[in-house]
């Protein structure tokens, strides 16, 4: 809730109250009901104003002790998969996969994504087979009732770096790194009124990748003077649930080698891995948008024909 929308809100109510009053002054009777109604409106407007005041006060509160998170809104980036005709940039997804494999996968699992689906990224069947074989999968039990290790095959899923959540939490200072399969859709900062109304028309649905990208590039910022950062956590003004998080800055420039000549910067890495995670969370996004366009065009044409037919049918009847 931003103070701005609070203002609009109280304006609306005050407007309503004035209308009610104007109607009273016309002298219709039922004065008592309307007066009490106007009073109710005034009370509501008053509380709305009070809320706005309280929120403004909270925001003016010392920078060192913020009460609303994230401190900074996620930066809105240009994504190739945004908008009605959005498609994934396969080269970017391949780079993102590389970042995931070499950096994120050390701690984060991605257990809902199968190797075979990586063909979507532009890899051939043989390349996917080779990629899967790099992993060791614990399988079984065999005829002797024992679990055994074997190289991965395309139908396997990305193996988790830790055997269970408890082990993951124990190895990471008490917070288990979340699974990344659906992360790009499981994170997002509330847009608030009136932005969520505009989002309907701009089709903004990239809150997840924007958030991940902002978080990954947000470690550079220094906490304001006097802010207390709990031990074992790292300040990040883009973190959704507090001033700092357990995950340290995972990326640095030139950490991952790109073969296609793309800049090897933290910003580029974060963009690529965010796009890759969006693909992991929604591999059929392109098909969804493509089908949607056809459906809407059909409905528009059919709707226009039905409308004209309706006009024709009703033309001879007073209504």
């Amino acid at each position: 809730m931003t103070p701005k929308s609070g203002d609009r809100f109280s304006d609306k109510i005050m407007l309503e109250t004035t209308t009610a009053r104007q109607r009273i002054s016309r002298g219709f009777g039922m004065k008592t009901i309307l007066t009490s109604l106007a009073l109710l409106g005034l009370v509501l407007a008053g509380t709305a104003a009070a809320t706005t005041g309280a929120i403004a006060q909270e925001e003016a509160h010392s920078e060192a002790a913020p009460t609303h998170f994230p401190i900074h809104e996620p930066k809105e980036m240009d994504w190739s998969f945004a908008g009605p005709f959005g498609t994934y940039d396969k080269a970017q997804l391949q780079r993102g996969l590389k970042v995931y494999k070499e950096v994120c996968a050390a701690c984060h699992s991605m257990k809902l994504v199968a190797f075979r689906t990586l063909e979507d990224l532009g890899y051939s069947e043989a390349q996917v087979k080779a990629l899967a074989a790099e992993y060791t999968i614990n399988d079984g039990p065999n005829d002797a009732g024992e679990m055994f290790d074997r190289p991965g095959i395309p139908s396997d899923y990305f193996p988790a770096p830790y055997p269970n959540d408890q082990a993951a939490a124990a190895a990471n200072g008490g917070a288990a790194p979340p699974d990344m399969s659906l992360l790009a859709k499981a994170r997002g900062v509330t847009r608030g009124f009136p932005r969520f109304v505009f989002d309907i028309f701009t089709q903004y649905a990239q809150g997840g990748p924007d958030y991940i990208h902002s978080l990954l590039t947000g470690y550079d910022e220094q906490p304001p003077a006097g802010m207390e950062i709990p031990e074992g956590t790292h300040y990040n003004p883009y973190f959704i649930a507090g001033v700092s998080l357990k995950m340290p800055n995972p990326l640095s420039d030139d950490q991952v080698t790109y073969d296609d000549g793309s800049p090897q910067t933290v910003d580029q890495y974060s963009r690529d891995v965010s796009a890759f995670l969006m693909w992991a969370a929604e591999p059929h996004l392109e098909a969804r948008k493509k089908t949607g366009f056809r459906v809407l065009v059909f409905l528009l044409l059919f709707g226009a024909l039905v409308y004209l037919t309706k006009r024709k049918v009703w033309a001879g009847v007073a209504h």
């Binding site: 809730m1 609306k12 109710l40 969370a281 309706k310 024709k312």
Partner: protein, 288 residues
Amino acid sequence: MCCPGDRCRSGGATVITGFFSAIPLVGEWIQQLLLGGFAVDNPTLNRFFSLHYLLPFMIAGVVVLHIWALHVVGQSNPTGIEVKSKTDTVAFTPYATIKDAFGMLVFLFIFAYFVFYLPNFLGHPDNYVVADPLKTPAHIVPEWYFLPFYAILRAITFNIGPINSKLGGVLAMFGSIAMLFLVPWLDTSKVRSAVYRPWYKLFFWLFVIDAVLLGWLGSQPAEGSYVFMAQMATLFYFAFFLVVLPVLGLIETPRRLPNSITEAVLEKNKGGGGGHPARATAAPETKG
């Protein structure tokens, strides 16, 4: 032991079954019966899935009742005046059929837009997090169409005599829906249409604003001045049904009613006003 389902819904199931625990004496028992245990688990999900596949069939049954009612009492109309002669009506097909077909296509267009381009717009990111019975989400936000009722539920923060705030909230929430069923007895006005009731029109729009306000309050945390605002809005919600509807019908002077639907239509077409050319009532259009 893991519970399939996402974090929000499992939190929602806890809250919904919690409503029943507010009933005196048998509440706990009913809650456990619904949950199939002491907490949300697989039996709960099975029950809830069964309920949710069954509901569409029940709605289909109500559609049958709707069609029956349509055949028995006929369609209502914006003037709220009984049909008096043949000229008051038109045939269902093609007139109503084609109009409804167009309306349905407009709805489908908007629906498809959301389905294909903004499938997560009305959802919550937490719906993509696997449920964990040991971790309850900080804020449970219900689906948008439940928000006004959620605000009413949380507005009752005080005890009323023997009714504690929890039971009071649940009663107020279910009561807010029950009000709709009582409208035929609460509305004392002889005039059926708001078109001829200027004061009722005003209160109706205030009620709409109140419902939207409650919806917004339902999405906000229940703290500080939000609680007071929700209480005031809840008060108006119930006052609309229990005070405004019965009293207004008795004391309001409605505008003059037309004698028949035909007269109302002719009057409307004649009095275009403001530069609109008066449309000939039965002139065939040249279009097409």
